[in-house]
């Protein structure tokens, strides 16, 4: 791994992000009565895509929106331009990561055509209307009434699996906005984040944007690397990153298997694992450190296994660090679908070894907020300082910042946020009495005999029992 490349400038990156920032600032004040500074942000976005097929539509949208007369079509065009810019940022970052890892780039996976299903048009229209109202009001203009408008749309969408992506996104976004109401009294705004969520949601309201992906079937051996857990108040997803070795001896691939579920906000910690466990046997295999044999498991062109327990069988024990040292370097990455090209989605498994640890609370000029919380760990990799995002490790697991700080090898996901590459640890290897001992972030995915873990499991079980009992009494009346 050539870590030094992670810190080299990328041509054009700052310019692209400046155009994004300019547009994002427009959404802070809203597009109802735009001021001259906002017109500048809009035209900057239009200029940035002037050489693309979007040019004329975005130029028109910027002009209309600058005059306070933007309609839904214009807002969609602006969201598309912003998404395209961040897509280019994503591509540049991924190209850099490929240089760093030296990983082979995969041929496009030969899968069938996507399902192209069209869905519940009226709900998509309602969601689009809400998002456009947000754009007009701006983050500083949000209030409970406006934000609450998302709730009925989300409730209607959630039961439909085909609308789950948009519903889950809107649910998390609206909860966040609600917690920040009224916008007029906000001291600061998560400018890029909210613009990200807004643009993403708006594009997902377009017919076909979230249609079923192209799928083929694969058989062979799956060697898990680790689990990435994502959650907001009312949803959780666990993504297992793994190397897939086809039974036919073809090129092995980097793949993911995901399981997600809506949840009440009081289901947290070990409760997240409990909610997901029954739906993907792979979590138990990860907890036990086993490989899994796949038989005709659906795989998308993006490298996502669409998990089906009936097509999986627990296999031999497989050491994650052996997988990382032997199988990971030769596994090819899958292509990313056009809409998913966003820096936030970059999550590339890498093994980092032979580093020094700069320890906790490392001071760094200009860093602030979440970034310099005590407990921050920085790895010194051949003279380069790679920050470890220990915050992304699930609470219900044995991997702690201390374990990372005392490790000699770290298997993690290379990510990028706010202008910097970060390492999200999946597992670390420490030397205890001259023997390597691994600690996995997802060790408790399938359950645990650890004392603290078992207590967390019990508490989570009790919480769900109470909620189910309440639901039984109150919901069906």
């Amino acid at each position: 791994m050539r870590a030094d490349l992670l810190f080299d400038d990328i041509a054009g990156l700052d310019e692209a992000l400046a155009a994004v920032d300019g547009f994002d600032a427009v959404l802070v004040g809203g597009l109802l009565r735009p001021r001259p500074a906002q017109a500048g942000g809009l035209s900057g976005l239009a200029d940035a895509v002037a050489g693309t097929p979007l040019a004329s539509r975005v130029a028109e949208a910027a002009e209309k929106a600058s005059a306070g007369g933007g309609d839904e079509g214009h807002f969609v065009a602006l969201a598309a331009a912003r998404t395209a810019l961040l897509g280019s940022v994503h591509d540049a970052l991924v190209a850099r990561v490929d240089e760093v890892t030296g990983r082979p780039v995969a041929d496009p996976w030969a899968a069938g055509p996507d399902s192209g299903e069209e869905r519940a048009g009226n709900l998509l229209v309602a969601a689009r209307g809400w998002l456009c109202d947000l754009a007009r009001t701006g983050w500083q203009g949000i209030d409970h009434e406006l934000v609450g408008g998302a709730a009925p749309v989300v409730s209607a969408m959630l039961p439909d699996p085909a609308l789950r992506r948009l519903a889950t996104l809107l649910d998390g976004f609206a909860a966040e906005l609600a917690a920040c109401c009224p916008g007029a009294s906000l001291e600061r705004v998560p400018v890029r984040r909210w613009a990200d969520l807004w643009a993403r949601a708006l594009l997902l309201t377009l017919p076909g944007a979230a249609s079923g992906p192209a799928v083929g079937e694969v058989s062979g051996r799956l060697l898990p690397l680790g689990v990435d857990v994502q959650e907001h108040a009312t949803a959780v997803q666990a993504q297992v990153h793994a190397v897939f070795e086809p039974a036919d001896g073809g090129v092995s691939r980097l793949v993911r298997a995901s399981v997600s579920a809506p949840k009440p906000d009081t289901v947290v910690g070990a409760g997240l694992w409990q909610g997901l466990r029954p739906h993907m046997s792979l979590l138990a295999a990860v907890g036990e450190g086993r490989a899994v044999d796949l038989d005709a498991m659906p795989l998308t062109a993006e490298g996502d296994l669409l998990w089906d327990d009936s097509r999986a069988r627990a296999g031999e024990p497989a050491d994650v660090f052996a997988t990382a040292r032997v199988a990971l370097p030769v596994a090819a990455a899958c292509a990313v679908s056009p809409l998913d090209r966003h820096p936030v989605r970059i999550a590339v498994p890498v093994l980092v070894e032979g580093y020094g640890v700069e320890g906790y609370g490392v001071e760094r000029d200009g860093m602030e907020d979440a970034r310099d919380v005590a407990g921050g760990v920085v790895l010194d990799v051949a003279g380069c300082r790679l920050r470890v995002d220990t915050d992304r490790v699930p609470a219900a697991g044995p991997l702690t910042p201390q374990a990372v700080a005392s490790s000699g090898a770290c298997l993690g996901l290379l990510r990028w946020d706010a202008g910097e590459f970060l390492l999200q640890p999946l597992a670390v290897e420490r030397t205890v009495r001259k023997k390597p001992v691994a600690v996995h972030a997802g060790a408790w995915a399938g359950g645990t005999s650890d004392k603290a873990g078992a207590r967390a499991e019990k508490a989570a079980t009790d919480a769900v029992v109470v909620l189910r009992e309440r639901a039984g009494k109150l919901l069906r009346k």
Partner: protein, 172 residues
């Protein structure tokens, strides 16, 4: 805001704007939220398993309200906080932390704020009865949360969840 370069927080796509709830026992108070300018929630009746109370305290004024889910006023909530409201404050502190609850309710609290000090600071202001009409809405939001238990899990990927990383920081 908006002047000059954005801070790292403002430029982050994944910054956690709302910390996730801390684990707590739910038997007594199955639902708590800081919303609509109020601390509000649902409290189980001590005597009747089929009955719950919908309780709330408004920010700034601490105007309070407590009634059953069938809209009958709570006998204890005349003049001051009933035990349901006290339990609500206690569980809100467990779920969100005392500082966040105090900030939301606009209670001037010292360094070591906890549930009892929060409650006494609010009752000392001799708050009046609040708007009971929101009870139905709070109750329906509780039911909406319960309905999440009935929704099916899926193994189709949700790429949007990359914007919502977990945070181990809630372990304590």
């Amino acid at each position: 805001m908006g002047d000059g370069a954005l801070s790292v927080w403002e430029k982050s796509s994944t910054v956690r704007v709302v910390p996730s709830a801390r684990p707590r026992k739910l038997a007594k108070v199955p639902f708590v939220e800081l919303a609509d300018g109020r601390l509000q929630g649902v409290v189980s009746s001590g005597s009747d398993i089929g009955r719950v109370y919908v309780s709330s305290v408004a920010a700034s004024t601490y105007a309070f309200s407590c009634s059953t889910n069938n809209n009958r006023p709570c006998g204890g909530a005349r003049g001051s906080f009933c035990n349901h409201i006290r339990a609500l404050v206690g569980e809100a502190v467990l779920q969100y932390g005392a500082e966040r609850v105090a900030r939301y309710l606009k209670v001037e609290a010292g360094e070591s704020v906890d549930a009892p000090s929060l409650t006494s600071a609010m009752t000392a202001a001799r708050p009046g009865a609040g708007d009971a009409s929101a009870a139905a809405q709070v109750f329906s939001r509780f039911l909406r949360q319960l309905a999440y238990l009935e929704l099916a899990a899926t193994t189709a990927p949700l790429p949007e969840m990359h914007w919502f990383p977990t945070t181990g920081a809630v372990a304590a």
